[in-house]
Amino acid sequence: MKNKIMIITNEVGLHARPAALFVKTASRFKSKIQARNLTNGKSWANAKSIINILALGVSKDNQVEVQAEGEDEDQAIQALDDLVNSDFNQ
């Protein structure tokens, strides 16, 4: 199991396009991946479910904890971290 706390700096938070990219990235990996919103307290959501991620209500500057469990958990965390840090390529 691997965890990482990420800060979402994108203007719209994890909504719309960024959420879609987040979910698409997570879906590439075999590991079970979950995310929770530390800022508003919303609990673990399936990172491969767009509806779940949207329901986390992640706004700009929120802290999100991502947890991956599986054979490619390191790559998964890395990929999601890269995505968030590159501000979703925007």
Binding site: V12, H15, A16, R17, A19, A20, V23, K24, N46, K48, S49, I50, I51, N52, L54, A55, G57, S59
Partner: protein, 579 residues
């Protein structure tokens, strides 16, 4: 005696004011078209795997539908607007949604109910969130949900109401897909709760010659079907449950309007001659061979604008020279001896043909479109030019170039036209030898340099629609600024005067092909400004001619001069109304 509100309702009628969308009077019964709500079937099945198969098939079909819509929206509105459909497509793949659905199916429930149950669950979860944008996503989730259920139940998109008798159609708003399969012969008028003067409802109603009032507000949707209504499309007023005397005066007004229209139609084939003997040419704006016939029937003396985009849009490949030639020939034949002004291709990033990559522009109306695209694609452009030249034999063809900004563009375009002519001469084709070449005046730079342009062309045609948007830097379709976009404003009238004068000085004629030409308030002014030709929607022709016949050129000139010194569109309209 107590006059409670209920009593007043029973005794009297009620007026509701909306936005005038298309003129005309109608009296009839309302047909309230409410958005269709699905009745989702719910039953037990003993074949969960069968239900899973059905679900997979339906989601696959829904995915295709969504991709098609996304592509269309991307074309018509842009990539960012289309992006929301990507989210819709993602909902279809959502593992959480699928898990919940499969659980229910595993428990013996049918696919429709299982799926909608899961959709509702998540839609409600999103609705609980304190974030407005996320709550809005609940609508998207339900939309996707409904799309899949429609596929499961084999229901085609938004069913059309079945009309048995003529009605006044009342709806929240009308979209092209909704009205496409409607039996329009049974519609007396359109009334919508939402919408503005340029929405689809207005455009459809105008093209059908039916009255329409939009933006009436929520309350009209709570009327019962069958309620008696009077609709006045010119003022935007409707009367609900009119009293007998209201009906009577309405009928009288309708009858008068009808009689006037009939009288005007009877005179439509006569020239538009003022009381002091001057004539002004009245022509038609058309966009298809069918329009050409209508134009002739309504008294058009020519075509002042043939839009050629219909040849290029809604198809996968560009139209060939022969295809184009056939259509141009058809239209020219129908118009006979009457002159026909054809506008070369005027497309842009807002509505690009499927086979053309016009790029993503922040502002397609200030971008790479029309003549700019054509001049940079000379071989493509010459196909249209050759087709036109070939069709010209035996007719009075005139060619005009849209969106001209600088004189160099005119020279380049004319050079390409000459090349096309040479190519055809080389093939031994016979062409007319009196083809006039002109330009649309729609960019203000041309109005300022009209004297220089006049030496390069045989005529000007002022496209007041676009000239107005460029002059005031305001779009008609943007509700916040639409009030600034009014072609009858003195600023535009001054541009017209300038262009006409420069044209006459160089011995060339000037026409107007924007909507202003058919505006009853503008006709006397344009007459007074010495415009040579007014080209308008065929339906407006009889009335425009009737107006011309009521004026003397001298009085019209005085009116125009007064108008030029006013400082608002409203004051110009008031001036004409009181003249």
């Amino acid at each position: 005696m107590n006059n409670s509100a209920a009593d007043q309702d029973r005794v009297g009628s009620r007026r509701i004011k909306g936005i005038a969308a298309a003129p005309g009077l109608a009296s009839g019964e309302a047909y309230i078209w409410r958005k269709f709500t699905l009745q989702v079937p719910r039953y037990a099945t003993n074949s969960p795997s069968g239900e899973v198969d059905r679900l997979n098939l339906a989601t696959g079909q829904a995915r295709q539908e969504i991709m098609q819509i996304q592509a269309r929206v991307a074309r018509e509105a842009g990539e960012s607007e289309a992006a929301v459909f990507e989210a819709h497509a993602m909902f279809l793949d959502d593992p959480a949604l699928l898990e919940l659905t499969l659980e229910a199916i595993g428990g013996g429930l049918n696919a429709e109910a299982a799926w909608m149950g899961a959709i509702e669950h998540y839609a409600q979860e999103l609705e609980q969130i304190d974030d407005e944008t996320l709550r809005a996503r609940a609508v998207d989730v339900r939309d996707v949900g409904q799309r899949v259920v429609r596929r499961l139940m084999n229901i085609t998109e938004t069913p059309t109401p079945h009309l048995d008798a003529p009605v006044i159609l009342v709806a929240r708003d009308l979209e092209p897909s909704q009205t496409a399969s409607l039996d329009k012969s049974l519609v007396l008028a359109f009334c919508t709760a939402e919408g503005g003067p340029t929405s689809h409802t207005a455009i459809l109603a105008k093209s059908m010659g039916l009255p329409a009032v939009v933006g009436l507000g929520e309350e009209i949707l709570s009327l019962a079907s069958g309620t008696a209504l009077l609709v006045d499309g010119a003022t935007g007023m409707i009367i609900v449950e009119p009293t007998p005397s209201e009906i009577e005066s309405f009928m009288l007004a309708s009858q008068t309007a009808r009689q006037e229209a009939e009288a005007e139609l009877a005179q439509a084939h006569q020239p538009a001659r003022t009381t002091d003997g001057k004539t002004i040419e009245i022509a038609a704006n058309i966009g298809s061979p069918e329009d050409a016939q209508r134009a002739v029937d309504l008294g058009a003396e020519g075509v002042g604008l043939l839009r050629t985009e219909f040849l290029y849009l809604d198809r996968e490949t560009p139209p060939s020279e022969d295809e184009q030639f056939e259509i141009y020939r058809q239209i020219l034949d129908r118009m006979g001896e009457r002159p026909v002004v054809v506008r070369t291709l005027d497309v842009g990033g807002d509505k690009p043909p499927r086979y053309m990559d016009l790029g993503q522009e922040a502002n397609p109306f200030l971008g790479w479109r029309a003549i700019r695209v054509c001049l940079e694609n000379p071989e493509f452009f010459k196909v249209q030019l050759r087709a036109l030249l070939r069709a010209s034999l035996g007719h009075h063809l005139r060619i005009m170039f849209p969106m001209i900004a600088v004189t160099d563009e005119v020279r380049q375009a004319r050079r390409l036209l000459d090349l096309a002519r040479q190519e055809l001469a080389g093939q031994g084709a016979e062409l007319a030898n009196d083809i006039q070449v002109g330009i649309m005046v729609e960019i203000p730079s041309v109005a300022w340099m009209a004297d220089q342009f006049a030496g390069l062309v045989d005529f000007f045609s002022i496209g007041t629609n676009d000239l107005t948007q460029y002059t005031f830097a305001a779009e008609r379709t943007n509700e916040k600024v639409a009030h600034l976009n009014d072609a009858i404003h003195p600023a535009i009238l001054r541009e017209v005067k300038s262009v006409v004068e420069a044209g006459h000085k160089a011995g060339i004629w000037t026409g107007i092909c924007g909507e202003l030409a058919g505006d009853p308030n503008a006709v006397p002014i344009l007459l007074g400004l010495e415009v040579d030709e007014l080209s308008m929607a065929p339906a407006s022709i009889p009335h425009a001619k009737a107006i011309v016949r009521r004026w003397s050129k001298a009085d019209a000139a005085r009116l125009a001069n007064e108008a030029l010194n006013l400082d608002s569109a409203a004051s110009v309209r008031a001036l004409v109304k009181n003249a």
